[in-house]
Structures are given as C-alpha cells and as structure tokens.
C-alpha cells in the first residue's frame, strides 16, 4: 500500500483484534514497478495454499504489481480497496474459507461497511 498505510491499518486492527500473525505489510515507497512486483512475488511464492494480496486502490502501483505478481498463481487473489472493517473481517474469517470465497466475502463486507448516518435536526 501507499506510504505507511499497510502498517498503520495493521496496527489499528491489532487494537481491536489483538496481536496479528501471518500478515506481511509492504509499502510501495521508493520502489520501481519492477522492484515492487518482485517484492510481492517473493512473498506469494511460498503460499502453498494460496492467499490474499490486499491493496489500497484500483489502478495504483500496489494493485497493478499485485495483479502482476499473482499471475500464474491461481490461488492468489488480489482484493483492492481495503478498509479497516474489511481487514478485521479477514482476520476473523481467514481460517474458515479458501482464498476465492474469502475474497468474495471481504468485497461484500468492505462495501457494506461504508454507510451514511444522517444528522438529526434538533
């Protein structure tokens, strides 16, 4: 993700969820496309049962390099547009679903978490 968003999101999630293991954070800061793609590829190469690459926004370098790094790994799914509720849902459910079913769930949860509350008039 951009800047220190991944690290900050994970720290925020830990305030709610508790200590998190098995999540690797990566910033695109200062990385060329080639280096960012390689950094993601190195990580997903070891995922024998697949996994998720969570990125911040569609069309950004993290998204593009995530898609490129996942190429050829059918069980590695890129989910773009992360928010804190999505990350928390991932942490609570990652052992229950395979990567594709989990990705489908997270997309729904992430969208549903964005809601409007109208202010009440006095």
């Amino acid at each position: 993700m951009h800047s220190d968003l991944a690290d900050a999101l994970l720290r925020a999630a830990e305030k709610v969820y508790g200590t998190v293991e098995g999540v690797d954070v990566l910033s695109n800061e200062g990385l060329s496309r080639e280096d960012l793609e390689q950094a993601i590829s190195r990580r997903v190469a070891d995922w024998r049962e697949g996994g998720l690459v969570l990125t911040d926004f569609w069309g950004g370098s993290c998204h593009i390099c995530g898609v490129a790094a996942a190429r050829g790994h059918g069980d590695v799914v890129v989910v773009t547009g992360i928010n804190l509720p999505l990350l928390l849902d991932y942490l609570h459910n990652r052992d229950e679903y395979g990567p594709m079913a989990l990705a489908d769930r997270l997309i729904r949860k992430g969208r549903d978490s964005i809601r409007l509350h109208h202010g009440q008039t006095a």
Binding site: H2, G30, L31, S32, R33, E34, D35, F57, W58, G59, G60, S61, H63, I64, V67, A68, R71
Partner: protein, 162 residues
C-alpha cells in the same frame, strides 16, 4: 488539443497518473509507449484495466511515432507515458515534438544516484537527459500536480550540458 502531460515514470500507469494527474487534467487517452509492454497482450490488458474510464493505448515507440501527427490533431487531451529517458529520447529522435517533459518517477536501482526521493539517475540517464536538453526539451521534476515543478538541471547539475 492534444498533449496534456508528457511524462517519464518507470511505473507507467499508477495512482499518481490515474488519480492525481487524471482527475486534474481529464485526459481522454493515455498513450503508454513501451516496446516491452506493447508486446504483451496481458500487460496491455492490465494497463487498460488500471484506468477503466480512459482510452489506454499501449504501443511501441515506432507505433507512437506513426500516430503522433494524428494525436496532435485529435479532439480531447492525452497523456504520454514512457518508462525511461532513453525511450523519451528515442521518441524525440524519431520526430515526436516534445517541448516539456515531466520527470515523475525514476526509482532507485543499483548504480543510480539520488536526485530527490523519486528520481535516481546513472551516467546513461544523464547522457540521455543532456541529449534531450540539447534538442530543446525542458526537463521538469514533479511527481504530482500539487507539487512545485523544478528543472532537472537545478536539482542535478550533473545532468546539465557541459
């Protein structure tokens, strides 16, 4: 109307292009001029998917040269993206008229020295920069529209012609 932004960026299409420059300048077309990317259908699809609201063309330097005159006459504005200064020079040498080239991202690689946080150059890059300057191309370092554009030679005197 044609070129709104002509840029060197080793990430080609990415967030700064789609969100920062795109939402400021509203291009109708993005020309990604890169021989390697143009040769891969998968890469072309990836670039197009990254900017779904814009017509993305991923082409070789030769194809861009051939399309240049028509693009300059085309309605609506366009962005030009190349990966490195070598590609920009090749375009100019083959007849593309570029007067201002934005340097938006040339990231660290072994052998390159730092100009600022997002521009790193080696001797070959500086030779290409000097050749572009000699052909009258202004080189401006600026990552996003809200940042101040600085001339490359002010930031990196080693890039200036002798």
């Amino acid at each position: 109307m044609s070129w709104l932004l002509q840029r060197v960026d080793d990430r080609l299409i990415h967030g700064q292009i789609v969100v920062a420059w795109g939402q400021r300048l509203h291009p109708e077309r993005i020309w990604v001029v890169d021989d390697a990317a143009a040769g891969s259908a998968w890469e072309r699809d990836l670039m197009s998917s990254a900017a779904p609201d814009v017509d993305v063309q991923v082409v070789t330097i030769a194809a861009m040269t051939a399309a240049w005159a028509a693009e300059e006459e085309a309605p609506g504005g366009a962005f030009l993206l190349v990966r490195d200064l070598k590609s920009a020079l090749a375009l100019v040498e083959s007849g593309a008229t570029i007067t201002r080239l934005n340097l938006g991202g040339l990231h660290y690689a072994p052998g390159k020295s730092k100009v600022n946080e997002y521009i790193y150059l080696d001797d070959a890059d500086r030779a290409h920069a000097r050749a572009l300057l000699a052909r009258g191309v202004a080189l401006e370092v600026q990552d996003v529209p809200g940042a101040v554009a600085r001339s490359l030679t002010a930031l990196d005197p080693a890039s200036a012609p002798a």
